[in-house]
């Protein structure tokens, strides 16, 4: 058994070291604060140990010997020690909290900023929920560790050592009670408590599944309602709940055993001290004051030990959290800016694809040699079935990914030679499901150009023909959107996204048309807005509307990563091929 356990321990130690080395930069900036904190902690420990000692002196040499002067002197010293204890305890705590909070703040900031720099590939692999968990739950686990544990290791170990030392110093023989107390205390605190912590975690897991069921029931309540399934759901919930309940009944008795043992041990230690003290008093080896001091010390051992045990339990969780946090920090963006990238330029808007190949993994090529030219100001519609590679082409124009082979040229210069931010500043994107952020309509539109005024925004909206629509919202441009905000239809969202893109006055515009059907009023507005937004810019549009396709200068017909046809609507219609088939299948009137 012992042999088997060993490698695991070594591994944990290594993890601990690695973890510490990662946290080190955060700790280093607070080194002075931490040093002062430990100084205060040591004063606090010293005071806590000295107090029973002083009182023992007061009793034995002041009260017992009826020496009032001595008693007053000792009392004065006690008062000073108390004062020191108070201040050191207070500042130790404040410093610990401050440093802990600051470290958390920096970790959150660094993590967030790092994530902002990661590329699409990272977000393709990691779901939003998972990243959220890193930044919330994992950081919180770290918080618990930092808030309670920063001072623990050192201070509590010193505290225990100090108490034991004081007892040994006061009376070696009476200290033999430690032989009884210490092993039991260690067993209770480290054995029983870690079992409690583990059981609590298990229960937490079961509670989460009760809550998950609950959450889903609430989200799906209308479905339940329309299938009249309430009774069965209630029964199901009762069984989940009952299951959790059954498990809690295994948990809290542990809690009861824990406190039972603590109380028994504490009282029994007092009894032992009295008996041992009595025996020693009989032979005149100790004084009553020493016995009184021992009575205080034996009960003081419990708290620091419990804290250490807590800390150890938290550490194992913190390792895991830290590893996940730093795994994200270690992620690197695959879109890298060249050292001497072009950052001062004015785009004209010519786009050329030269034998572009792209894949996420080599077995599944997505683009298999795409070549085409788009002149500045042209509208290029891309049509094709789901999975044909339409989105990938426009993503490459935005440089969300880099080509696997070939090149994308913008104004005859390789896209990878431009500064990323400067390039994107002259382009704009409208996604199929437009992201509306919480905040006002104005804030949502000016998202693309953060320092634009309300006049800029209004001007753009008038140009797009959506000014009237926005004025019709409850608070016009100040209407709040998002979870707590007004509910607007998907078509209206897309119109706002148009305004957002238009405000940037981009040279290259990328549009992923919504495929959902809009009501006639909105549809008409969208068509008008589209015409006005595309004017004078190189536009790539993943088209679903035939009107959009027909008006495009060039239509790229894509099938399984290959361009099967390219030309204008009229040209393509003359040929029998995928294009005609595509139109047929996307014709909304056919039924």
């Amino acid at each position: 058994m012992k042999e088997k356990n060993k490698p695991a321990n070594i591994k944990t130690d290594k993890t601990a070291l690695r973890l510490l080395s990662r946290l080190f930069p955060y700790i280093k900036t607070n080194a002075a604060g931490i040093a002062i904190m430990y100084l205060f902690s040591l004063i606090n420990v010293a005071a806590t140990i000295a107090l029973p000692f002083l009182i023992q002196k007061g009793i034995d040499y002041g009260i017992a010997l009826k020496d009032i002067d001595y008693l007053v002197k000792i009392s004065a010293i006690t008062a000073i020690v108390l004062f020191f204890q108070f201040f050191s305890f207070r500042y130790q705590g404040r410093l610990m909290m401050k440093i802990g909070n600051r470290i958390l703040y920096y970790i959150r900031r660094d993590l967030f900023n790092h994530i902002q720099g990661l590329s699409f590939r990272f977000f393709d692999k990691n779901r939003t929920g998972n990243i959220m968990t890193r930044l919330t739950v994992d950081v919180q686990v770290l918080e618990e560790l930092l808030m309670t544990g920063l001072d623990t290791v050192l201070v509590d170990v010193i505290m225990i050592a100090g108490i034991i030392g004081a007892m040994l110093l006061l009376d070696l023989k009476l200290s033999l009670v430690l032989l009884f107390i210490l092993p039991l205390l260690v067993m209770i605190v480290f054995g029983l408590q870690s079992r409690i912590v583990r059981a609590a975690r298990g229960i937490q897991g079961r509670l989460s599944s009760v809550n998950a069921f609950l959450n889903e029931s609430l989200s799906g309540v209308m479905v339940t309602r329309s299938f009249a399934r309430e009774k069965r759901n209630i029964k199901l919930f009762e069984s989940y709940n009952g299951n959790y309940y059954k498990n809690t009944r295994k948990f809290y008795p542990l809690h009861a055993y824990f406190w039972q043992s603590v109380i028994m041990l504490n009282t029994a230690s007092a009894g032992l001290v009295i008996i041992g003290g009595g025996l020693l008093i009989k032979s005149g080896q100790v004084t009553i004051g020493v016995v009184a001091a021992f009575l205080t010390y034996v009960t003081q051992l419990f708290q620091p030990m419990q804290k250490i045990s807590n800390m150890l339990n938290q550490l194992s969780r913190a390792y895991a959290s830290c590893e996940r946090i730093f795994a994200i920090m270690d992620e690197k963006s695959d879109i890298v800016e060249k050292a001497n990238s072009i950052s001062d330029f004015q785009l004209t808007g010519d786009v050329t694809f030269k034998d572009v190949r792209f894949h996420y993994n080599p077995e599944e090529p997505i683009l298999k040699g795409i070549s085409f030219d788009a002149q500045a100001g042209e509208t290029v519609a891309i049509v094709g079935h789901t999975g044909s590679g339409k989105s990938t082409i426009v993503h490459l124009v935005s440089r969300f990914y880099d080509v696997t082979d070939g090149a994308v040229l913008i104004d005859s210069i390789d896209i990878r030679d431009y500064s990323i931010a400067a390039y994107r500043r002259q382009t704009a994107v409208v996604m199929q499901e437009p992201q509306i952020f919480s905040g006002s309509v104005y804030e949502n539109i000016s998202f693309s150009v953060p320092d634009s005024t309300i006049d800029d925004v209004t001007a753009v909206c008038k140009q797009l023909g959506i000014h009237e629509m926005i004025i019709g919202f409850p608070d016009g441009y100040d209407t709040l959107m998002g979870e707590r905000g007004a509910n607007i239809s998907i078509g209206q969202k897309q119109l706002l996204a148009f305004a957002r893109a238009m405000l940037r006055d981009p040279r290259i515009l990328i549009l992923d048309e919504a495929s959902a059907y809009l009501d006639t009023r909105t549809e008409t507005m969208v068509q008008k807005a589209l015409a006005s937004i595309m004017k004078g810019r190189t536009t790539f549009v993943i088209a679903h509307r035939l009107s959009t396709i027909r008006n495009a200068n060039k239509i790229i017909v894509l099938d399984k990563g290959v361009i099967t046809d390219i030309g204008s609507h009229e040209e393509l219609l003359k040929k029998e091929g995928i294009y005609k088939n595509f139109l047929r299948q996307n014709n909304p009137i056919a039924g």
Binding site: Y105, R249, A428, F447, S448
Partner: protein, 590 residues
């Protein structure tokens, strides 16, 4: 505290025995804890003296073992106390949770229209946990605070009233300081939670919108926004933790000051012979005992306050009126499918009516489509049929019987609904299809899947019908989810079918593919279908054109094309796209 106990009296009654046991154990345990100082006092005053003088150890052993035995007894008492309190806490909360769930299953659609899932979840999780904590240790702590401070005061007064008064002079001050701290702390904690919530929202939005953030290269703006939230959380955190860091040293100082007073004033009395050394040491022990209620006072005050708020919020839901109160109907006939609206007017709450004086009737087995702009009242209209809402005036007759006379369950079991947003539960595909009829056989499930043309896909999955569907059906495409929802409605074999805009979020190709399934789904049943696409509208025998809550027209596609402006305009907008292949589309009409 009494308020909470009273609110949930009904729930705690079955566990009264355990609750009384817990309280009894608690009282005995605390009273026996005073034995310890008494024994210690006796040991130091008498026994040690006796031992030094006579060398007789018997009495020392007796007193020592008495202390040890008292420890064992108190340990056992504390065990049963903790166990019983927790038993009551977990049991009461289990029952409340069940009741709440039952209530939530029955609360009306108007409740859910207003309630936010996040808010409800927090009532069901955090609030319930607070009530658990209240019963598991809130009551215990509150009672012990009172019990211990009163009894210790009495004992100290009895033993040495002067010293007792001097020691106790601190306590009221400390008490008020703690209460002040805890109310401040509570506010700070709330602000911290708010800040943490705000940070999470910022984060959530950033991550869901990360692609647009990157597309517009506004990462720096986002960093600024996050920085603001982050800083706010940091400051809120700091207030909480600083308050916490202040409280404990203060409590420690109080304890120390008490000991100091006992040492100097008690010592003075001992020297003058008006008190024994044992009493003095006993006082010090009492002081240690009284530190326990002081240390938990702040924690307990905020727990009880929070639990009071929680109990109010929980009770609010528990006493709400739900659909069962409107379920007085007894008719459980098989629905034939004739529907008649007579002068139906309906409004949400006190707002403007969304449906105004609607009258129309639908024949048995007829397919009727609803068409209109956003906000014309289509969804409101169909929500009246399964009685999710009740009309404010007018009548709805089903097979000549007014809706309220139908049993709610019988009515809804015979109405099948497919919504725009397909909600799938995280269970297996088979269970999802059998959602409305959990007792359906696998054969029946397979048949329903086959009718919805999703059987081949399901069977191609490694686990077939046992494939687990993730949260909200993740991992399936929109079309696949929609087909599973259709199978789900089909298995129910409903007499009335309601399709609420269930195709508009699908791309045209998928929509086209799904039309045949829709057609077979409708055959032989009265069908109401909301749609924007002409292609879907044409599946219906007749189309209701709704305009601001009123019926503008109710006629066939051909006739509407001739006379209804809105319908015609829509047809033309959708047509513009396709003049070149219009012959195709017309020839495909069936």
């Amino acid at each position: 505290m009494l308020k909470i106990l009273k609110t949930f009296e009904e729930y705690s009654r079955p566990y009264r025995g355990a609750f009384i046991l817990a309280n009894t154990c608690m009282v005995i345990m605390d009273l026996t804890s005073y034995l310890l100082p008494v024994l210690i006092k006796y040991a130091t005053d008498t026994v040690f003296d006796h031992v030094t003088k006579t060398g007789d150890l018997k009495i020392l052993y007796i007193v020592g073992s008495a202390i040890i035995i008292s420890g064992v007894v108190r340990g056992l008492l504390s065990h049963f106390m903790i166990r019983s309190y927790w038993y009551v806490g977990e049991s009461v909360v289990k029952d409340i949770r069940n009741s709440l769930y039952e209530k939530l299953q029955h609360l009306g659609a108007s409740f859910y229209a207003k309630a936010r899932t996040g808010d409800l979840m927090s009532r069901l999780t955090t609030d319930i946990q607070l009530i658990r904590n209240f019963y598991a240790f809130g009551v215990e702590h509150r009672l012990r605070i009172v019990l211990i401070s009163v009894t210790i005061l009495l004992i100290m007064l009895y033993q040495n009233w002067r010293l007792a008064l001097i020691v106790y002079i601190f306590l009221p001050i400390v008490y008020f300081v703690i209460v002040y701290f805890s109310s401040k702390l509570q506010k700070a904690v709330m602000r911290k939670h708010e800040s943490a919530g705000a940070l999470n929202s910022t984060l959530q939005e950033n991550l869901t919108g990360i692609r647009i953030v990157k597309a517009f290269a506004v990462e720096d703006e986002q960093k600024k926004i996050f920085e603001k939230s982050n800083l706010r959380l940091f400051n809120a955190d700091l207030v909480v933790t600083t308050l916490q860091a202040h409280l404990n040293p203060l409590l420690q100082l109080t304890g120390g000051a008490g000991t100091l007073v006992i040492l100097i004033y008690g010592g003075y009395q001992v020297i003058h012979g008006s008190m024994t050394l044992g009493t003095l040491i006993g006082f010090m022990t009492y002081l240690m005992i009284i530190r326990f209620p002081l240390f938990i006072l702040a924690f307990n005050t905020s727990l009880v306050n929070l639990a009071e708020g929680a109990s109010k919020r929980i009770n609010e839901i528990l006493i709400m009126e739900d659909q069962r109160e409107n379920d007085k109907g007894t008719v459980t006939n098989r629905i034939k499918g004739k529907l008649e609206f007579q002068n139906v007017t309906f409004a949400y709450g006190d707002k403007k009516p969304v449906l105004r004086d609607l009258s129309f009737s639908i024949r048995e087995g007829e397919r009727v489509a609803l068409f209109g702009l956003n906000g014309s009242g289509k969804s409101s209209l169909i929500s009246l049929i399964p009685r999710f809402y009740c009309p404010d005036s007018g009548k709805i007759l089903l097979d000549e019987t007014p809706l309220p006379e139908w049993s709610l369950e019988a009515l809804r079991l015979q109405i099948g609904t497919v919504l725009q947003e397909t909600f799938l539960f995280s269970m297996t595909i088979g269970e999802n299809i059998a959602f409305g009829r959990p007792d359906a056989s696998l054969q029946q499930i397979k048949e329903a899947a086959a009718s919805a043309q999703i059987d081949i896909f399901i069977e191609s999955l490694p686990d077939g019908y046992d494939t687990y569907v993730g949260e909200s059906g993740s991992g399936l495409s929109g079309g696949q989810r929609q087909r599973i929802a259709i199978a789900r409605a089909l298995l129910q074999n409903p007499r009335i079918l309601i399709l609420d805009d269930c195709t508009s979020s699908l791309d045209p190709q998928t929509e086209r593919n799904i039309q045949n399934e829709l057609r077979s789904l409708m055959s032989g049943r009265t069908t109401l279908i909301i749609a924007q696409r002409i292609s879907t509208l044409r599946l219906a025998d007749r189309i209701i054109v709704l305009d601001r809550g009123m019926i503008q027209d109710f006629d066939s596609h051909e006739n509407l094309l001739k006379k209804n402006e809105l319908y015609k305009a829509t047809y033309e907008t959708q047509m513009v796209c396709s003049e070149s292949i219009i012959e195709d589309s017309l020839s495909m009409r069936s």
